[in-house]
Symmetry: D2
């Protein structure tokens, strides 16, 4: 279904080449100051045409709030936000009408629905994430009231892991990396691959600063489980790990275990190996996890595939594609993280007995 | 909450050292033949004391179906299944009452609830997975009617990846590995680590054979997102990747992309790199994914930690623990997979227009 | 929350005096022919200004489908439909800013949210039912494929019950009554009350023709329970009864019981006293129920009330109000009925074992 | 499905003639004192054999809490409570195996599921309400902490409405009426009808004392809508009305409207005509509503019906049946009310911005 969340919910609608993209945000508490700019700022982080590292398509992606706000504040009513689609070159996709693009959703959609909106992927397009980013922007306003901050950056590009982390550099470079010299090296890599008509992937790290202890539930709705679902629901995402993740599986228990220590009366662990969550519930330490993003499936290089008649065909995908989608996925993953957190904050408040 | 699923749902209850563990399975179609043996067989795969590779605790874990079955068939009513707790050495845990065990949920539970059932971890104990396995066993009966099979095995143990796969060997060895010579090597590794009072982790691979195309939804409820949530909700799981997962993030698009080919009229891909799911929807190819399992947190080796007063203490965890939890997690992950699949099968049936 | 339904869901948004009203319809099967006219026709049944029996406000209430349809058919994507608000006399409400109107939601909204959009009731306005009617119109298209028909009419007006039922007359009179002579009598009553600046209520009867047996669930989600919730969620509705309803409570069991009879091999009852549902599950007979609608709360007659400071004030509500809301509530109740039915049809399909 | 509630949830299981009835209560806050007696006291109010006004079947209906409580307090874990079925005369039902009892669920269950547990109605039996009453008992403990009280009584018996209300008399008479002289008259009526082998119905009134303002939601989840669903989901219930309900539909607006008045600074209405809820949200005044209960369908008097072959048959239902189910339905309706209220209390807490 197209709704995410239990108490703080978003409902997403709109197709890549339809009239508009939209989101309905439900469950937002009243009396929160909210304006178009909060949402537009987040949208601008994901919009195309930001730099040579993203597709050159120009879309202004301007949002309009059509309900839920009265005199600059939320009223408790559902907040609907719309973005008109402006730069729809449906004709670009005419030659794709009968072709199943490799690693795209064309074939599986057709099998499920028996009908396919071939124009830009329809509902499977990355444009759908506009709705998520707008919902996430509202969630972020709520998190600010709790002094919780979410930071995402590219931890790996094209197979190279980068160890240095300078969070202040993230919004200063188009790849959203956290280190200047790493960025320069990665930039050269991306440019070279772009020139070949090819693409790259990477790994995103998300950090949640200052989360309260107690978020999440012990069994099915473990906080990391809901974060995993939210992140894995983003197109191009192929993996998720919390804290030291896969590398923990290669260690002995005595090495993997992370001792509790008392830091000025506050309970902490030595290295936050479990990513700020134990038994599905946040410990109060920073939460961190990583997400694998595959390279952009739409590339200019010729590919082989099959058409709707089952015939082998050669395919050259025209149009303007992202040489790497990682920098534009980061605000989407931040949004998904914010949505999960606010939902759990509200769930936790509901069961608290103060 | 303690309920998972939309149409096919399980509700789990019971604590490690309480009277019993139980599950209520709701949404099961009527007229399906179901008996205690179907469920007991799956339970036996996860029960302790199976081999020297698992804890030596002896628990018979015998199930009783108390509702939902009439004359050997499901009636459409909720199916409740109970397992009495028999081997409860609560005293074993008395000395842990005021201690936060490293990498356990003790501290986060206490922060969330302000109360803690210290006996064996209470609700955070691995015993809770009994409920999941019983629910999954019923789901597997439904999958059998669709000729869908789920196979799990240990792909990596203690950091070593094993390439050979002989599925017929899996149920013939206590580590649930898929290759005899790999098993011998891993067995020696586990035994050595066990002798040190330490533990190991590993990576589980799950394969879904013969799934129909069309399961999953395009946006938030992508099939891999629901599988990720289900797997990440199992204790000790730290990571999830679908298909080639994290390794795809290191490739170029031209290498990562997986061409469609026509195989005797059936649409397939060259290497099933995306794990049988594209755009959140199953393609009809086999589904496969991997799950990272950390080493057992309870080890005999002395550890440092903190008690409820914030004082540093030395900890030696007594009792009988699993040197590696991977083989017992596999039936749990198979159960979670079955639960997600049946739920999506039913969702897909609901919206189909035949 | 602003979402209704499990598998077939609508999410409603928009305020009376905001930019627009909207609905997102999720879960609609693909390949169903759907156009704007299907929806507009239902909207026209509820719109103001239809006759002297409704408010004289003129609002065109023209809908626009902005997603979910491709080449005239549903695609399985969420269907968003918008109606711009055109006739917003917010100034009409300026004098109501600090007053709690009797039998309106002003006071309870203010207590809940600490903020109040006083312009036309904001989210509590009857205009919100535009979203429901649009969602219901899509549901009706699905019901048509199953040859299920929903008919609503005014069974009582201003306290008088009317016994004759000629369904063909319903859409021929502005009170949506089912008998011509009854209509004439009721019309005179409404006109007299309107001239006094007062209002009337009534009882609506809804009939579902040709429903399949087996809809509904045995315990909490009894079909009549979901119908009751759906109807009671409509503003001005104060009561619900299924079949002979309240009058059954006054009978002896031997009179109330309704014998099964075999009618050419088909199982029926003598008088369908239970309204086509037994044990929460439809029997296959027509379903019928009644809904009590209170008189329009907004009347021109002077009233006494209290303002936000707690001071007693005299109130004269200006503007153009419905002398009786019953005829305009009928299409809303039909829509709610259609939404519940389609959701249960899909639920039932999901658990069926063919 | 067999789960009710969003944040405070119960899952019900068990058949009339199976091993046991049970409930899983999820979402209960931690650190609430809870013992078996709280639950047993409520169960005792609904158990059979209380008086000559109820069935003479003897069932002890003794509950056992099997999870969720540690040292006398809730832990936040799901609370499972079981009641063994002790007095199962399945043979009593052998002659009903192939007969569809009038106004029972036999036929509709069979049509839905294609299988039927004929022993005592299986899942459609009134015994299922044991699960509801146990869940409601836990909800009532939470309500007590908020000083909210729920009182139910028989407002009408066998068609006669009783005007006097003395709440202190309710638990002193087996019909749960609120006036001694009314009780005497009604008792004679029930005894006469019982002697005929027949049964009676009635109308229950529920009052919620001291509810907070702000419970409920403006659109689909209006508080009265959720109360209606909860009550209509109880077997034998045929109607629901909030406040003055159906009688409001017969009044003019000027009579129906209920002016706000200021009572020592507190906002009240003149007569609480709308039942303590306006626009779906509680006003802070007492909430009251009425529920129509049909006469017990199982009567000793001979009846005509049809068997599974479609043949007309004469039916005499043996066994020991309630001459009037109203007094035993009252604790069930109180339980349903408590469940809805606690759920809404928690929902409201979640969105509050303090």
């Amino acid at each position: 279904m197209n709704t995410l969340g239990n108490l703080f919910r978003i409902t997403s609608f709109g197709e890549s080449h339809g009239t508009m993209m939209g989101v309905v945000i439900d469950g937002c508490p009243s009396n929160i100051e909210l304006n178009k700019k909060c949402i537009q700022d987040e949208l601008d982080k994901r919009k195309p045409g930001q730099s040579s590292m993203t597709t050159e398509r120009k879309e202004s992606d301007t949002c309009e709030i059509v309900s839920g706000i009265f005199e600059g504040k939320t009223t408790g009513a559902p907040i609907a936000v719309l973005v008109k689609n402006s730069n729809m070159h449906s004709a670009d996709y005419e030659n794709l009408k009968d072709v199943f693009r490799p690693s795209h959703a064309d074939a599986s959609f057709f099998k499920k629905y028996g009908i396919r909106d071939h124009r830009g992927g329809g509902r499977s397009s990355g444009r759908e994430t506009i709705s998520r980013v707008m919902g996430g922007a509202v969630a972020q306003e709520i998190l600010k009231q709790h002094n919780i901050e979410i930071i995402g950056f590219a931890r790996s590009i094209g197979g190279e892991m980068f160890e240095n982390v300078d969070e202040s550099f993230i919004e200063k470079n188009p790849l959203r990396m956290a280190d200047e010299s790493s960025f320069k090296r990665a930039l050269a890599h991306v440019e070279a691959v772009k020139a070949e008509g090819d693409s790259l992937g990477g790994i995103v790290e998300i950090r949640i600063k200052n989360p309260p202890a107690g978020l999440g539930a012990p069994v099915f709705d473990k906080l990391e489980a809901d974060l995993a679902k939210a992140c894995m629901s983003v197109g191009a995402v192929k993996g998720f790990e919390i804290g030291e993740g896969f590398s923990l599986s290669a260690k002995k228990g005595s090495e993997a275990n992370d001792s509790f220590v008392s830091n000025s009366g506050s309970l902490q662990t030595e290295r936050n190996a479990n990513g700020g969550i134990l038994g599905g519930i946040s410990t109060g330490e920073d939460i961190w996890f990583r997400v694998a993003v595959k390279p952009t499936s739409s590339i200019s290089k010729p590919q082989k595939t099959v058409n709707t008649k089952g015939e082998a065909v050669d395919l050259e995908i025209e149009g303007r594609h992202d040489p790497i989608i990682v920098p534009r996925v980061i605000p989407v993953l931040e949004a998904m993280t914010a949505l999960v957190l606010v939902d759990h904050l509200m769930m936790n408040k509901a069961i608290s007995n103060d």
